[in-house]
Symmetry: C7
Subunit: 74 residues, 7 copies
C-alpha cells in the first residue's frame, strides 16, 4: 500500500485484510473489496473489534466514507 | 454484495433485507428498495431494533445518506 | 412510497402525511407538499410530536434537508 | 407558503413574519426579506425569543443557511 | 441592509459596524470590509465581546464563513 | 489586511505573523506563507499558545482550512 | 515545506516524517508518501503517539483528509 496518490495506495490493498477506524471509535476489520473517491468502501468477512477481540461478525458491509478516520493494512 | 465499486455492492443487495447503522447509534432493518450516489436509501417493511429486538415498526422509510455509518446484508 | 430511486419514493408520498425525524431527536408530522434534491422539504399542517403526543402546532414549515435523518409514510 | 418546490414556499413567505429555528436551539422571529439556494436568509425587525418571550431585538440580520433547522410562517 | 438576495444585504452593510455571532457562542464586533459567497468575512477594528463588554481587541480579522451563525447591523 | 474580497486580505498578510484560532479552541501563531480558497494555510515558525504563553514549537505547519475559525494579523 | 500554495508545502514534505494531528486529538507520525486535494494522505511506518510515546505501530495507513487538523514536518 504505497503510491503517489492516496487512492493508489487503497488500490494496492484491494483483496487484503484492512483495519478501518471510524469516527465513532469503532474498529472494523475485513477484506477490502471496493472503494470510490468518497472513500465509501466495501469489506468482506467484516468483523467489529474491541481491544483486539471480535465483538460482532458483520459479513459483507458497505461503509460510508465520511465516517472513516483511517484505513490500515493489517 | 461484492463488486469493484461500492455502489455495485449496494445494487446486489437490492430487494434483500439489510441492516443500516446510523450516526445516532440507531439500527434500522428492512428490504433495500432504492439508493442513490449520496447513499440516500429507501427501506421497505423497516423496523428499528435495539439489542436485536424490534422497538418500532416504521413501514417504508427514506433515510438521508449523510446519517448512515454502514449497511450490511443480514 | 416504493421506487427505483429514493426521490421517486418521496414523490409517491407527496400530499400524504409523513413523519420526519430530525438529527436533534425531534419528530415532525405533516402533509408532504414539496421536496428537492437536498431533501429540503415543505410540510403542511405540521406538528411537533413527543412520545406520540402533539407538542406544538407549526402550520406550514420549510425544513432544511441536512437536519433530517429519515422520512416515513405514516 | 405552499408550492411544488421548497424554495417556492419560501418565496410565498417573503415579506411575512416567519419563525426560524436554529441548530443551537435559538428561535429568531422577523420579516423574511431575502433568501438563496443555501437557505441563507435576511430577516428584518428580527427578535430572538425564548419560551415565546422576546429576549433580544436584533434589527436586520443575515442568517447563514447551514445553521437553520426549519422556517415556519407565523 | 435590505435586499432581494441575502448577499445584497451584506453589501449594504459594508463599511458599517456589524455583530457576528459564531457557532462557538462568541460574538465579534467590527467594521465589515469584505465578504464572499462562502460568507468568509473580513472585519476591521474587531473586538470580541462577552455580555456587551469588550473582552479582546483583535484588529483586522478574517473569519471563515462556516463558523458564522448570523451577522447583524449594529 | 484590508481589501474588497476576503482572500485579498489574507494576501496582504502574507509573510507576516498571524494568529490562527481553531475550532478545538487552540491558538496557533506563525508567519503566513501560503493559503488557498479552502483556507488551507501554511505557517512558518509556528507555535501553539495557551493564555499568551508558548506551549509548543511546531516549525512549519499545514493547517486544514475547515478547522479554522479566524485569522488575525498580530 | 515552504511554498506559494499550501499543497506545494505538502509536496516538499513528501518522503519525510511528518506529525499529523487529528480532530479526535490523536497524533499520528510517519513518512508522508502521498496526498491529494482533499488532504487524504498516506503515511508509511506510521505510529500513534500519546505524550510523545509510541502507543501503537500502524504500518502503512490511509488517513481521510476531513479528520485532519494539521500536518507538521517533524
Amino acid at each position: 500500500m504505497e503510491a503517489a496518490r492516496p487512492l493508489d495506495a487503497l488500490n494496492k490493498a484491494r483483496n487484503q485484510r484492512v483495519i478501518v477506524e471510524l469516527k465513532n471509535n469503532k474498529q472494523l476489520v475485513g477484506k477490502l473489496k471496493a472503494f470510490d473517491i468518497h472513500i465509501n468502501i466495501v469489506l468482506e468477512e467484516a468483523e467489529e473489534r474491541v481491544d483486539g477481540e471480535v465483538k460482532r461478525k458483520l459479513g459483507t458491509i458497505f461503509i460510508r466514507g465520511d465516517t472513516i478516520i483511517l484505513i490500515s493494512a493489517q
